[in-house]
């Protein structure tokens, strides 16, 4: 709402916000482990529930790892805006005159660094546990590297809508999982194609397109959602 001349540089604000969020995450660094542990636990449930047959695990590995990534992302999403929403910082952001869209983008970026990137880094271990064929390991990592930011971006819209609810987290999964379906389909198709020795780059291309589209559109929707939640 402030006129341009009293609002400072947007890039400075962006950087300040990213630094603050990283600093806050660092101050609570033990909490960063929770999604990681969750991921490990969920993956290990599959051999326990289905049986440790290596061929069976290898067949379901791409889907299982990706579904676990979805679940871990949704669990970590609530933290994205909650703290700022509850202590009034978000209101200050709205008043500041900086576009809320870019503020949302900054927060989503740090959220991915803190919650999504560990999933990517952990994936070789998960692939090992699920007996994923080695030739598709690199594709798995790439799909996660491209896909988890999309999950954070689309998920942020759901978080923005449910942040004013006390038990928003439960509803969040319902809201967000249908939107995740295309990413799941394309990412697992890429990994399975790689395992079968078939071409897979077209799937990666789709993921890149999805990432670019989400980066441009999702923060805008998330900002709109946050404004509604503040009212």
């Amino acid at each position: 709402m402030n006129p341009e001349y009293t609002a400072g540089s947007l890039s400075d604000a962006f950087v300040a916000l990213v630094r603050r969020d990283l600093l806050l995450a660092f101050r609570r660094r033990t909490e960063l482990l929770f999604p990681v542990i969750f991921l490990l636990v969920v993956i290990s449930l599959f051999p326990l529930g289905i049986g440790p047959s290596p061929q069976l695990l290898a067949r379901i590995a791409p889907g299982v790892i990706w579904i676990a990534a979805l679940l871990a992302t949704v669990i970590s999403l609530d933290a994205l805006f909650r703290s700022d929403f509850e202590d009034g910082t978000l209101e200050q952001f709205v008043i500041s005159g900086h576009p809320l869209t870019l503020i949302a983008l900054a927060k989503i970026a740090t959220h991915w660094l803190v919650a999504g990137l560990p999933i990517v880094l952990l994936s070789p271990l998960l692939a090992l546990w699920m007996n994923l064929p080695l030739d598709s390991l690199s594709v798995m990592v790439v799909t996660l590297a491209l896909g988890t930011p999309i999950l954070s971006l689309i998920g942020s819209i759901g978080v923005g809508l449910t942040i004013s609810l006390k038990r928003g987290g439960q509803l969040l999964s319902l809201l967000v999982f249908p939107l995740y379906v295309p990413i799941l389909i394309i990412a697992t198709a890429a990994v399975m194609a790689a395992s079968d020795g078939l071409p897979y780059t077209q799937f990666l291309g789709l993921l890149i397109a999805g990432l670019i589209t989400s980066v441009t559109l999702a923060p805008f929707a998330a900002a709109a959602a946050l404004k509604i939640s503040l009212s």
């Binding site: 709402m1 402030n2 006129p3 819209i157 809508l161 449910t162 004013s164 609810l165 928003g168 509803l171 319902l174 809201l175 999982f177 249908p178 939107l179 379906v181 295309p182 389909i185 394309i186 198709a189 559109l217 929707a221 709109a224 959602a225 509604i228 939640s229 009212s231």
Partner: protein
């Protein structure tokens, strides 16, 4: 800084614009729609009887599927409506968000349960249809899977709307969600369709191929139009009830009650 927020502009002389503007007023909307809802129900009933007669009785049995194909006369219009209603809900949601018109919010939110119901009917009839064709009640074919995801989208909109306490805030949030879902819907649709071909090869098409005999097509088109009248009638009825609830303490509702025009 210049922030100027003012309420509705003065209506211009153009008749259509004036009409649309008047529709934004709850009492006027209530009175106006009350007059022709019974006609909508009537047309729906007539078309449905006619369409079902043609489809269930007169149309010849299918060469491949025998009598079981007749369920298409309920399944296909329901599936079409499930998608049409979602799109119209999203369009209304967009208008409601941008222009903050309460009636459009009400119309959008009232559309959701109707759309969800059609989706359920499509799923149920699709499943029943599948039994004689595939041997089981459920198969993850492209269309049923798409309908299922659509059902989840509807449930999300309805769930969000009921979870937020303040009604207008809830409507705005749900409208935004509907809009986001609408943008994703084509993507979901194509990715599911393609996922299906990826994993199973081509599936049996429920409509039995591209050549449909005219005697089978007519009932389908009649039913397709009939359900649109159902949607209109049901939607307006729900919207009117919602407006009465919301404006319970306002004068126009007292008038309506007093003059027994409910």
């Amino acid at each position: 800084m210049n922030t100027q927020i003012a309420v509705k502009d003065k209506p211009r002389k153009n008749a259509l614009v004036m009409f649309i503007h008047k529709l934004g007023s709850p009492p006027w909307f209530y009175g106006f729609t009350g007059k022709f809802i019974p006609w909508l129900w009537l047309i729906f009933a007539v078309l449905t009887v006619w369409g079902l007669y043609l489809g269930l009785v007169k149309a010849p049995a299918d060469y491949l599927q025998g009598e079981s194909f007749r369920i298409m006369y309920i399944h296909v219009p329901s599936a079409w409506m499930s998608m049409l209603i979602y799109s119209s809900m999203a369009v209304m949601g967009f208008i409601a968000l941008v222009w903050r018109i309460r009636i459009v919010e009400v119309l959008a939110m009232s559309s959701a349960p109707i759309g969800a119901a059609f989706t359920l009917i499509a799923l149920a009839t699709g499943s029943l249809w599948g039994r004689p064709t595939w041997g089981t009640y459920w198969v993850w074919d492209a269309r049923l899977t798409s309908e299922l995801v659509l059902l989840f989208l509807y449930l999300g909109v309805m769930g969000l709307y009921s979870a937020i306490d303040e009604p207008r805030k809830a409507a705005r949030a749900a409208c935004l969600l509907a809009l986001v879902g609408a943008v994703n819907l084509p993507i979901i649709h194509y990715s599911v369709k393609w996922w299906n071909t990826l994993h199973q090869g081509s599936s049996i098409s429920l409509t039995g191929g591209s050549n449909i005999d005219a005697s089978m097509l007519w009932p389908l088109l009649i039913m397709a139009i009939a359900v649109k009248f159902y949607y209109a009638a049901n939607l307006l009825t729900r919207a009117r009830i919602r407006l009465l609830e919301q404006d319970l303490r306002k004068g126009w509702v007292q008038n309506v009650v007093r003059e027994r025009k409910i």
